[in-house]
């Protein structure tokens, strides 16, 4: 009988570290919510030193063959043939109606070899679109270990354990190399909005890879971090999460649950200059319509501290704010009436701000627009003053900067 949750290739190392015994499920795998009793130190490691995060549960597909670029170009919204070997793209892919199915990173490992990551299974969708093409699609989710090394000292730590030219590795580029004799691919990518790398290796090498990274980071404050810390960082980076911030067109139960890339603030990933890709015509029509009635946008909003403080003061309390990121749908109002909804948010420990990612009609999406966001104050629903702000909420120069 299939055991669920399964354990990731790093489990022999992560299990003893997880003193909190707080595990959560991610794509059928057990991953640490936080290793320590509280996740605070793990979060601050991401922003202050470096954190090691097991991201192996990601779905990973290896697409190879003469028509590999052709297939992927047909599926994703960004231009694939123009990608250089060693380049990584963040992209979405859509159904024929231009509604987002999933999002992930696409790495060109060689001329005819790509790795696509995704939040949900996509083997069937890729296969359906591969009809007649000379291409092989392999689900390598189980056989590929993935670990994210994220934080200001991530580069320094990597340099302790690899000869690969990490210093020259640009944002969203990938190199092959070796870490203590283990073949790895290192991409300058991540889900924290910080300087960081993701390291890809055969699952069988996961444990020595983990040990090598831990050893390299020992003097630099490298801290294993769980999903709670990652969730805070990704909200600050305004990186959306499927099933939380949007629902896949393949999983939506009703039309209104689906979103186009434009409605998710991902219009920049839609390359309409490409002649053909799934959803092209619908997305071209949507772009032509522009901000017509009914267009939704995905924005960052910030609740105003004074307003929060006032609401709590009215009941005789100081503001009480969650220490974890939240993932519930929260009404967003304009003039006291609900106009939209926030899908994730947090009290940013770094920015000292209450921030959220929200879906609002286009007319409310302009930065500076004054809105309200629901807060529960001592069992009562209230509205805190908020406004639309540019995202990412936190965007340090080191994220893209060179060494």
């Amino acid at each position: 009988m299939i055991e669920v949750p399964r354990t990731t290739p790093f489990h022999p190392r992560t299990a003893p570290l997880c003193v909190s015994r707080a595990w959560r499920r991610w794509a059928g795998y057990a991953v640490a919510s936080s290793y320590e009793l509280l996740h605070d130190r793990e979060y601050h490691a991401i922003r202050n030193s470096a954190a090691l995060i097991d991201v192996s549960p990601l779905y990973k597909y290896l697409v190879t063959g003469r028509d590999a670029a052709h297939l992927l170009d047909r599926v994703v919204t960004r231009a694939v043939p123009a990608m250089k070997v060693g380049q990584v793209l963040y992209t979405t892919w859509c159904d024929a109606a231009g509604k987002v199915i999933d999002d992930g990173t696409l790495a060109r490992l060689a001329e005819d070899r790509f790795r696509l990551t995704s939040a949900e299974p996509n083997l069937r969708w890729l296969s359906l679109n591969a009809a007649g093409l000379d291409v092989t699609i392999q689900d390598v989710s189980d056989t590929t270990a993935a670990v994210a090394l994220q934080g200001p000292l991530a580069r320094t730590i990597l340099q302790q354990c690899t000869e690969a030219d990490v210093a020259g590795l640009k944002y969203f580029r990938l190199i092959h190399g070796s870490i203590r004799g283990i073949d790895v691919a290192i991409s300058r990518t991540g889900y924290t909005g910080d300087l960081g790398f993701e390291i890809w290796a055969a699952a069988v090498h996961a444990v020595p890879l983990w040990d090598a990274l831990r050893a390299a980071g020992a003097d630099y404050g490298l801290t294993p971090a769980g999903i709670l810390a990652l969730d805070l960082a990704r909200v600050e980076a305004a990186l959306m999460l499927q099933d939380v911030d949007y629902i896949s067109a393949h999983r939506a139960l009703i039309e209104s649950q689906k979103s186009s890339p434009f409605e998710l603030n991902l219009g920049w990933t839609v390359d309409l200059a490409k002649e053909r890709f799934v959803g092209h015509d619908a997305l071209a029509a949507e772009r032509a319509r522009g901000e017509a009635d009914g267009a939704w946008r995905f924005v960052g909003i910030e609740a105003e501290w004074d307003s929060l403080e006032r609401l709590f003061a009215e009941v005789g309390l100081p503001p009480r704010l969650p220490t974890q990121a939240w993932r519930t749908s929260v009404p967003v109002t304009a003039g006291g009436t609900q106009v939209g909804y926030a899908t994730s948010g947090c009290w940013s420990p770094l920015l000292k701000k209450s921030i959220a990612l929200a879906h609002v009609p286009a007319e409310y999406a302009v930065a500076g627009t004054r809105l309200g966001i629901e807060v529960t104050v001592e069992h009562h629903r209230r509205q805190a003053a908020a406004r639309v702000v540019p995202t990412p909420f936190f965007d340090p120069p080191r994220k893209r900067g060179s060494a």
Binding site: I2, V4, P5, L123, R251
Partner: protein, 526 residues
């Protein structure tokens, strides 16, 4: 109105009881007349061997309408539906296909057989969920007659049309396919794993005399997808105390509303005068008067046995004569001294708390049908097995178990007819077929009851032993169930109503027919 009763309900099966409960709840004086010594019809729990209790016929609950559970407050009368969480199909090579309550577990299990099917399974599930959602309102709707020009039928059709249009093109097409295709062809469009298709297809053939390659069986897949408990789709369950406990709970609710229930009271005739019912006559000779009579029996008994042919329009009687039953399933109930060990999952385990499906391949299921087509029972039948005592320990003595085996195909019209010898031959075939997957099964058995379609007919009264009071085939559903023009629970005889599974929407321990018929009776001002 003369007499003690406003309405008499013939038959104390779950639909008759639901009907009576709703009528009584509306303040009517109701009498239920049941031929057997106990209520329940095919939803009865009986202690066949000392200490071993069986849901003798119907054994799972999937379709009991939530509004009935709420309206009749059935939990207060003892109803407790326990989850039947998993399904395992053993394969001849010692492997198996499992479906578990946990989504990840099921996904990974199917991926073991085919990664593509694992993803398709999710999409298929969502599509069927949508389809079930789309068709579900129709279950609670009085079926409009498309050939009628009455304003009510036209309005009903318009509502139905709008409903279908709101599905969107993709889903409308899927619904059309479900209505026209065979379950085998429909599943071929989705999956490549044979054992997965075979197991899914099995739910398209239950209660029909059709094989998975027969057109129209795809719809039955959907019909069984509409199982809904507490608003949760696809939640199959097992009633604590067996399915008889469902009947007892409904009976208790009906009594609570003031209904009277008499057992050992077989109705032989519905009395009429001037084209209207006046009461019923019992086998004992007793006559009981009532202004309204509701029959929960199947259409053949309701119209061709209980009323005079002279009271029915000839064309209608002809339609009823053509309504097909063709019982195709049998039931084997085993009292076990020990649990059988399946080769694919030896020993005790969670699989014994769920269903075991003997449907190892599409060819296996279709071949089972081939036997039946030519008048034999399947040498190696499709079987749906549950161990109720694994879920409800009260069903068997401590340490012992009961095993319920639904068997298809066992045709009512067996060549040479059913007799004791054929019955035991069927029982032996079932055990032999099971031995392939659970080699020690024979040594576990302490008692065996085999119920052929002929037995089902004899005991419950279901014509030809059809468990759904008539085949669940498209030509006998919606406005055609049981006959064109008479799908709204009324009949050509004044104040005579029908409320059994042989009426829309029919089939399963659903209770919808009983409830909708009660609403029709009340709407007519009884």
């Amino acid at each position: 109105m003369a007499g003690r009763y406003d309405a008499i309900v013939i038959g104390g099966g779950h639909n008759g009881l639901v009907n009576a409960a709703y009528l009584a709840r509306a303040g009517r004086r109701v009498l239920v007349l049941e031929r057997r010594p106990r209520v329940g019809g095919a939803a009865v729990t009986e202690e066949i061997f000392p200490g071993f209790k069986f849901s003798m016929f119907s054994y799972v609950v999937s379709l009991l309408r939530p509004e009935i559970i709420r309206d009749l407050d059935l939990p207060a009368h003892g109803l407790h539906i326990l989850p039947l969480e998993s399904s395992v199909t053993p394969m001849p090579n010692g492997d198996y296909l499992g479906a578990w309550a946990d989504h990840d577990q099921t996904r990974l299990e199917i991926a073991r057989h085919s990664p593509r099917d694992a993803e398709a399974y999710d999409e298929y599930g969502r599509l069927m969920h949508h389809m079930a959602h789309a068709v579900k309102p129709i279950l609670g709707m009085l079926p409009p007659d498309p050939a009628s020009l009455s304003p009510r039928d036209l309005a009903g059709l318009l509502k139905l049309g709008r409903h279908f249009r709101s599905l969107g093109a993709e889903r409308f097409h899927a619904l059309f396919k479900l209505m026209t295709m065979s379950s085998a062809d429909f599943l071929d469009e989705w999956f490549e794993t044979d054992v997965l298709k075979a197991t899914k297809s099995a739910s398209g053939i239950i209660g029909t005399f059709l094989g998975p390659r027969s057109p129209g069986t795809a719809y039955v897949l959907l019909h069984h997808y509409m199982g809904e408990l507490d608003g949760v789709f696809r939640a199959w369950g097992f009633a604590k105390g067996g399915t008889g406990a469902v009947s007892e709970a409904i009976a208790a609710a009906a009594r609570g509303f003031g209904a009277e229930i008499r057992t050992d009271a077989a109705v032989t005739h519905v009395l009429t005068a001037g084209g209207r019912v006046t009461g019923v006559a019992l086998e004992s000779g007793e006559e009981i008067a009532a202004g309204t009579v509701v029959s929960s029996l199947d259409p053949r008994r309701t119209f061709l046995e209980l009323v005079d042919a002279a009271d029915l329009p000839a064309a209608f009687a002809d339609d009823i004569r053509r309504f097909t039953f063709r019982g195709s399933s049998a039931k084997v109930n085993l009292a076990l001294g020990a649990l059988p060990s399946f080769t694919c999952m030896p020993g005790e385990g969670p699989h014994l708390r769920g269903a075991i499906s003997i449907s190892p391949s599409m060819a296996y299921v279709e071949r089972a049908y081939d036997d039946a087509k030519y008048g034999a029972f399947s040498r190696r039948p499709y079987m749906d097995i549950v161990f109720p005592s694994m879920i409800d320990p009260g069903m068997a003595p401590p340490g012992k178990h009961v095993m319920s085996i639904f068997v298809q195909y066992a045709p009512y019209h067996l060549t040479g007819g059913w007799n004791d010898q054929q019955r035991e031959a069927l029982g032996d075939a079932v055990i032999t077929a099971l031995e392939e997957f659970a080699p020690n099964i024979r040594s576990c058995i302490e008692g065996r009851q085999v119920l052929t379609p002929a037995d089902i007919e004899r005991i419950t009264g279901l014509s030809e032993g059809n468990i759904f009071q008539g085949e669940l085939a498209l030509h006998q559903l919606f406005f055609l169930r049981p006959a064109p023009g008479w799908a709204r629970f009324r009949t050509p005889v004044g104040r005579y109503y029908q409320c059994g599974s042989g009426t829309h929407p029919g089939g399963g321990i659903m209770g919808a027919s009983g409830r909708l018929a009660a609403l029709a009776v009340l709407a007519d001002g009884a």
